[in-house]
Symmetry: C2
Subunit: 204 residues, 2 copies
């Protein structure tokens, strides 16, 4: 028997359930959400629902995985147009700002934070983190080779600072910003981060 996601109908139902789950987790928080609520919202029978996802944790993990895949795809696409590595590095930040025009991007980040201590989840989150760090560090090394960033900085350390600031700004915003202003504030702060990186560049 093929796995449920392999058939076209299965894949569509799975995508629908991920969307429902992202919304319900965003509204109620992960801890407060029950499988019964998710099943009710989906309109599926319990059996049909469990055919796709057998636990709340598995579903949350799939939401995080799917969103991260989408984000990496949009960022890679956005930066591919830039001919030079330093511009691709800047474009990563600006593409991430665009990704966060989708309100669910903030709630998936919060879901990730809520789940990061769950053993199976932390491995997945660590893999995503490594993907981002690898992407950013690779661009920094290329920009260094091009003479656009100082050779004296460690590319992995600078990548860690940039990725940490990008994630940290979402947590900070969730704490101090009114929801209606969070997106604009994130955008302004990300632009400020880009200005810091610009000032670090040896380019004119």
């Amino acid at each position: 028997m093929p796995s449920p996601a392999v058939t076209p109908k299965g894949a569509a139902t799975r995508a629908f359930l991920l969307q429902i789950a992202a919304e319900v987790f965003a509204e109620r928080g992960y801890a407060e959400t029950t499988m019964a609520q998710l099943i009710e919202r989906s309109g599926l029978t319990k059996g049909a629902f469990y055919f796709h996802f057998s636990s709340k944790e598995q579903l949350a993990l799939a939401v995080i995985d799917e969103k991260q895949r989408q984000w990496i795809d949009s960022v890679l696409q956005a930066i591919s147009a830039e001919p030079c590595a330093f511009d691709r590095l800047r474009a990563v930040a600006l593409a991430l700002v665009n990704v966060h025009r989708d309100p669910s991007a903030f709630s998936v980040s919060r879901l990730t934070r809520d789940l990061v201590r769950v053993p199976g989840v932390s491995d997945v989150v660590r893999d995503h983190m490594s993907t981002w760090l690898g992407l950013v560090a690779g661009l920094i090394r290329e920009a260094q080779a091009d003479g656009d960033l100082p050779e004296t900085v460690d590319a992995d350390d600078l990548a860690a600072v940039l990725v940490a600031a990008t994630d940290g700004l979402k947590d900070l915003g969730a704490l101090i910003d009114r929801p209606s202003r969070a997106r604009r504030a994130y955008e302004r702060r990300m632009n400020t981060l880009v200005r810091l990186v610009d000032s670090f560049s040896s380019r004119e």
Copy 2:
């Protein structure tokens, strides 16, 4: 009747319980810790323990509050020696690195993260965050007035980036670093953040 913390013996017991609680939360995680375990580790009777702290949440909140007070105190003391605002701004980052020589600093950050969604706690965490943001933004404004940082950057946005990176680096390290290397890695990355701020400065 005076509150338990007001008498000298009460204050000493309270400080002892905060230390115990910080250790147990660090070892087991907040969610997995029970009041019974905390009471057992303290060696106090249940009645004596509850005289000081009536719930796990109240105790965790007191741990976070106490540590934040200590961190702000050490940072303010460390920067007071610097005559100019830009150097005080740099000194904040270096003082925070020193604060994290105490291993419990990382676990209190993790405790804060675990608890940030609890209603009573998020207000307290928001207050601490505002204190740090206010301190850093104030130094940025002074450095701008001194001509050491560009006037064209918004002080609150730059403060948000620096505070978010500082916090984000702890979360990132908890995920990707081996515990034995976490402190050194945090120090290297914080120094990289300081280099970014240096490059932004108009000073020679």
